[in-house]
Amino acid sequence: MAGVEPDTIFISNVNLSLGTGPARVHILKDISLRVASGEAIGLIGPSGSGKSTLLMVMAGLERPDSGEVVVNGTPFNALDEDALARFRGRQVGIVFQSFHLIPTMTALENVAVPLELAGIADAQERAKAELEGVGLADRLHHYPAQLSGGEQQRVAVARALAPNPAILVADEPTGNLDEDTGKQIVDLLFAGHEKHGATLVLVTHDASLAQRCGRVLRLRSGHVVDEA
């Protein structure tokens, strides 16, 4: 682990298989990777190449079968399920393709959730500020079902940025959106990345979008095959 300190993300020889029996698929194959603090990287590759799974490993949502994952100086191997959850709440912001907002909570409540879970006193005020930052000042008390897809994803971005995370991961955040709306979301993500100085990891099919990141990794069949 020597020399990993400057990196926000350090991944070494990670292997991960999913499924059981004959359906078991080796998704990540001996992947090693370093991402420096404040860097923005794009993960691209065909469907099933393992890019979303790699993202989940980085976010502590998936445990590798072997190898080492260290994020912001914290080795994931040493953390149990709950410690990982706490870590995510403070250090990782996640944006999903399908938004994954809690349908029974208003936009404001959705954004405040990670802050409240982290025990931040002014969670509501900060959540409100984040929502205003993504242009949803007039949608604070709307439930997800009352918002358009673009608005829901903006809530998700605000939620990801609200705890001021060390890393911001986004899994095809524009996949369910039209081009214009998708662009607005990406702009918001990059703005947040720059404003908060967070390390950004972006999974996308869109090569031009990936190009907005300083660094692009191409995955194929569980291997990093190219880096630009």
Binding site: L18, T53, M56, A59, L61, E62, R63, E81, D82, A85, R86, F87, R88, G89, R90, I94, F96, S98, H100, L101, I102, P103, T104, M105, E109, V113, P114, E116, L117, A118, G119, Q124, Y143, P144, A145, Q146, S148, G149, R159, P163
Partner: protein, 856 residues
Amino acid sequence: MNATEHASNSTSRWLPLRFALREMRGGLRGFYVFIMCIALGSMAIAGVGSLAASLADGLAREGQVILGGDLSFTLVQREAKPDERAFLQAHGKISSMATMRAMARTANGEATLVELKAVDNAYPLFGEVTLAPAQSLDDALALRSGVYGAVADETLLARLALKPGAHVSVGNATLEIRAAITGEPDKLSIGIGFGPRLMISEGALRATGLIQPGSLVRWRYRVRLPASADDDAAAKAVTEQAQVQLPQAGWDIRNRRNASPQLERNVDRFTQFLTIVGLTALLVGGVGVGNAVKSHLDRRRETIATMKALGASGVRVFAIYLTQVIVLALIGGAIGAVLGAALPYAVSWTFGAIIPLPLIPALHISEMALAILYGLLTALAFALWPLGRAHDVPVGALFCDVVAGQPSWPRRIYIALTTVAVLALGTLAVLLAYDRRVAVIYVGVAAAVFVLLRLVGSLLMWIARHAPRARATGLRMAVANIHRPGALTPTIVLSLGLGIALLVTVIEIDGNLRLQFFNELPAKAPSFYFLDIPASEAKPFDDFVRAQAPSAKLEEVPMLRGRIVSANGIRAEYLKPKEEAAWVLQSDRGITYSGTVPEGSRVVEGKWWGPDYQGPPLVSFEKKIADGLGLKLGDPVTVNVLGRDITVKIANLRALDWQNLGINFVMVFSPHAFDGAPHTHLATLTYPDGGTPAQEAAIIRAVARQYPMVTTVRVKDALDAIGVIIQNLVLAIRGASALTLLVAALVLGGALAAGHRHRVYDAVILKTLGATRARLLGAYSIEYLLLGTATALFGVLSGSLAGWLIVTELMHLRFSWQPLPALAASAAAVLVTIALGLAGTFKALGQKPAPVLRNL
């Protein structure tokens, strides 16, 4: 109409059924709670109905045996006069029998109360008395070497440690026990006794010397009509002739169709009670049906939207899912009906040998059909509302997850249909009830409870929405979960609230019955009743008892038996008394006369006649009974006493406390009302601090030795005899309620399971955002605890109210609130809710978020 159009119409007619069945091809997953709820409720209704019908069949078929004849004429305190006997003999073969309470004494001084039955040689006209060791009844009761024979219940032999061959004394006679009774055909028609049976011959009864003027003896004359005229019409004709030819006889006439009206009434009443419990199970189950339909339609939102996009109208969508509900309700109802129909067979096989009821198990198709109908109506009453909402699922649901776009109320037509189903259910329950007043009250209360619980749910959500924000995240999440759209609050409040309310009602009834019949006797309750004290012996008897128990209080009053023949000019059989007063007309009652207001009662209307009253005979009535019979001051009442009708005016009304177990009479007459009529005295003996078993045993022995004619009834023994009945009643209440509670738990579990999918989603997202398992668990626990506690408070309140109503208004007992058991049971119910709720989410909490997220 051409052939193509016709084919198209017939295809479209069956389309909803075809679509419904197609949707159910994948199995009934998601509908198990629905089916079980309807099945359990229908089972209860079919079971109770089939059991009652089997019992009614048994009572009808065994009517002659139970009654002991085609007709039975009962006289109190007197034998039939020659003209009366001649009348009976003219109509068939007769058998006479006398029953009374007496004391049986052994040589070593032990004494116990027995229900004495003296029979003639013709007894029994129907059925057979079986004895152990086997022998003929005539032989067993015959006079041998100057000693009459007797046969007795096993319990008497065990109580006095007697074996066949042993001697007991009754009155002045010594009897030889020759056998134990193993079968007594007419036992049911004679009613519950306070002691075991001792059967002797009529000759033996006369030898005991117990038949004194005014003795409490009942003479029954059973008539077996000739084979040529033994149908119901013939029995009715004889009854009518008896009333016309011998109007003064004052006898109680019964025929084989009403061999045991008291038993039939009790069976009817109990059937109604159990049907109400079954209906409650169905209604609680209806909540489960509503939940199941709602979550089914939620899951089918996309399917519905797709069907609409492809051309299905809202009505057609409604028809498809309505068909599913009907099919499922019929499946549930049929399962329940079959299980319920098996109940009489199960009871007969398992308890047939020990229950003294003529149960004839049979398949009662009408009861099964009724149960299925109840199940169907319940399903419709609860499903039509959510089904109606399916009408308006927008096609836009395919494009976005619109929640706000759909109104929560269905169209008017569906509200109207729901109302029709609810009214049909209520009307059916009332129309088929034994006591419609009780049924109407039940339907009203049930409706009120549903509305109230719905309001409580809304109120809780309102309070949660407006509560100040809690600082603790867990508490805040919990409070927010209570009021969010799609929150489980209304369903949990409804199912848990109904469950707790029912539990508390049962606990309050149970506790009050126990308190009043088992735990404590009233402080001033007497220890003994002494019956049949000859009027001439009253004074020496008083002196004797006072000498035996100097610290105890002895009260003594004259007593006769009288039967109300008419009141206010209307014959008793045509009077329409209120339920609480009906018993007064059912047979003869104890009556007394007094110059002073009897102890323990006070005049509330009219004036007391005073000790020196010499005018025409008057009567004082108990106020509630008078009200129940529709009588007021000045009304004439005719009472038959010893075969003579006496008409008196009501001079005053008294209030009295029946539960102090002291000497209480509905009717107290003025002093000279029965001048010259032979009668006995009744006395009570009350120890200041309640008697010890040793004191009581000594009194029983001493009185039996000195006054063999006097019957001593130990109050504790009498209460024990009633206690056995109460115990069975309590058991039946508990058993029937357990079924309803099971349904409530099922509905609660179903409601929680329906929310499971959302819970797992929330849990995974929250974990992704940093929530630990403990925190989620804590938040859910607080949510269920808050909901459970608030609902439990309502449950305790409404259950206690229901318990109070039933105990005071239906059972006419004093109510004493049992807060601790009610609160303990509610706390247990809340804990079960938390456990059920957490059990659903616990597994999800342990899961890694990634696999779940991947599948979302």
